[in-house]
């Protein structure tokens, strides 16, 4: 579904990604971990071109994402993204946040979008907040709404950029629970996170990044049970 070939990204003189090769198949749940500054967020943000790579190729559903001629907006419709800071639109109600993109892009009628939003909001138990503004919600509520806002576009893959890092500890659970549900339903997911428990439980594959490279990867059992690379051993000894 997503193929990354020799991906490189530099900010000025500073090279953040140093040649990443990766293939993510339909239904996989790939969790990316690594120390801060390792380039894991940049890697994720390159996938939907929020950061434009300075080298290499990214393919998504048979289309070359990194080609200048590719209409990235069309591809982004199929790649949902969830941010660390939620990034809900503060001037719109919860319902408008969810229906804005599908209605504006004429993918759904207003009625369809609202029905869909209602179904999604009921699913996370927040239908009564439909007319509220983001400023009136807790962090956990905001992030769950950000997730269903992305889901309302019926994406083929969901990208999560440290979705629980900005949350109070007691709200992490509700967000992870929703993500686990999505995983169970077969959603293809790429998750950058520090939640090792989530990685162990949900991931089909875990990547360890450091200094712009993927140093080690594997299914969670062997990844956490028998880490090979000394940097990974060192990292895990600090976070576990």
């Amino acid at each position: 579904m997503i193929t990354v070939k020799n991906l490189e990204k530099s900010f000025g003189m500073h090279q953040v990604l140093r040649g990443i090769n990766e293939t993510i198949s339909q239904g996989e749940k790939v969790v990316v971990i690594g120390p801060s500054g390792s380039g894991k967020s940049t890697f994720l943000r390159c996938l939907n071109l929020l950061e434009r790579p300075t080298g290499g190729e990214i393919w998504f559903e048979g289309k070359l994402v990194t080609d200048q001629k590719t209409d990235i907006s069309l591809l982004r419709q199929k790649m949902g993204m969830v941010f660390q800071q939620f990034n809900l639109f503060p001037h719109l109600t919860v319902l408008e946040n969810i229906t804005l993109a599908p209605v504006t892009l004429k993918l759904q009628t207003k009625q369809q979008a609202q029905d869909n939003a209602k179904r999604l909001l009921e699913r996370i138990g927040l239908w009564e907040k439909a007319q509220a503004y983001p400023g009136q919600l807790s962090g956990g509520q905001k992030q769950r709404i950000a997730i269903i806002r992305a889901l309302a576009m019926n994406p083929d893959v969901m990208l999560f950029d440290e979705p629980t890092s900005a949350l109070d500890p007691e709200m992490v659970g509700e967000v992870l629970a929703l993500m686990k549900e999505l995983a169970k339903e077969g959603m293809t997911m790429v998750v950058v996170t520090h939640e090792m428990g989530f990685a162990r439980e949900v991931a089909t594959r875990v990547l360890f990044m450091d200094e712009g490279k993927v140093l080690e990867q594997g299914p969670p059992d062997s990844f956490f049970g028998h880490p090979q690379h000394p940097r990974l051993q060192d990292f895990l000894s600090k976070v576990l």
């Binding site: 907006s73 199929k78 993204m81 993109a101 892009l105 503004y133 009136q136 992305a150 576009m153």
Partner: protein, 232 residues
């Protein structure tokens, strides 16, 4: 009661005699007309300039245009509006008979430069994550700007924008130096006819004040209304 009679006499001569109040009413109408359309033109120019300048950050082909817009803002802000009016009236639009139109264009172009800077500050005040969230949903840059960023930007800059509109209304008082019968010109003409300039000038000072005061109240009301949905 002598002075009261005097004031009454002057007011009578200025407003009632020969239906001179009509000149003031027409003057108010002209001033409001120029102000209204100049605000519209200025806002349109300001948004356009600010958005193009913002987009130029990511699109190299817009750089020459950005340079041009920078020059526009620099020149307009660096020269007196009165000089701009004289140049546009006597040089650029010398053959245009509709002097109200010339005034609207002058004040619109002038205000546009200031509005552009205000809106640019407003766009910068919106978190980068808002652009990214909009883009990540598949919305194009223009749509993100229109539906997500500008509404938030305008809310943040409403006081500054209101200030600019108030300034514009007052600045139109120099339009009378061309053959435009705005409120200030009306006062001068009436004063010329009655050999009494004090009364009409003091009167229009009050009228301008009331107009600006009303505008300020309107803008405050608008601000409060926007703030209601703003629970950030």
């Amino acid at each position: 009661m002598d002075w009261l009679q005097k004031i009454g006499y002057h007011l009578y001569r200025t407003f009632v005699e020969k239906d001179r109040y009509m000149a003031f009413l027409k003057g108010i109408g002209t001033t409001l007309e120029i102000s209204f359309f100049a605000v519209l033109l200025g806002t349109a120019i300001g948004i356009l300039v600010a958005v193009v300048k913002h987009m130029a950050k990511n699109h190299r082909f817009l750089h020459p245009l950005e340079w041009l817009l920078d020059a526009y803002v620099l020149v307009v802000r660096g020269t007196p509006v009165y000089v701009q009016l004289l140049i546009l009236n006597t040089v650029v639009f010398a053959s245009v008979q509709n002097k109200i139109l010339v005034a609207v264009i002058t004040f619109g172009i002038n205000s546009g430069a200031y509005v552009a800077e205000i809106i640019r500050a407003g766009i910068n005040s919106v978190d980068k994550g808002q652009f990214e969230a909009g883009n990540s949903l598949g919305l194009r840059d223009g749509t993100v700007m229109r539906l997500i960023v500008l509404p938030q930007a305008v809310r943040n800059i409403l006081p500054a924008l209101g200030n600019e509109f108030v300034t514009l209304v007052k600045e139109t008082s120099i339009a009378g130096t061309m053959a435009v019968n705005d409120l200030t010109k009306a006062a001068e003409r009436v004063g010329g006819a009655t050999y009494d300039l004090y009364t009409p000038l003091l009167s229009i000072a009050v009228i301008y004040f009331v107009m600006v005061f009303g505008m300020t109240r309107l803008l405050n009301w608008f601000e409060r209304r926007l703030a209601k949905s703003d629970n950030r």
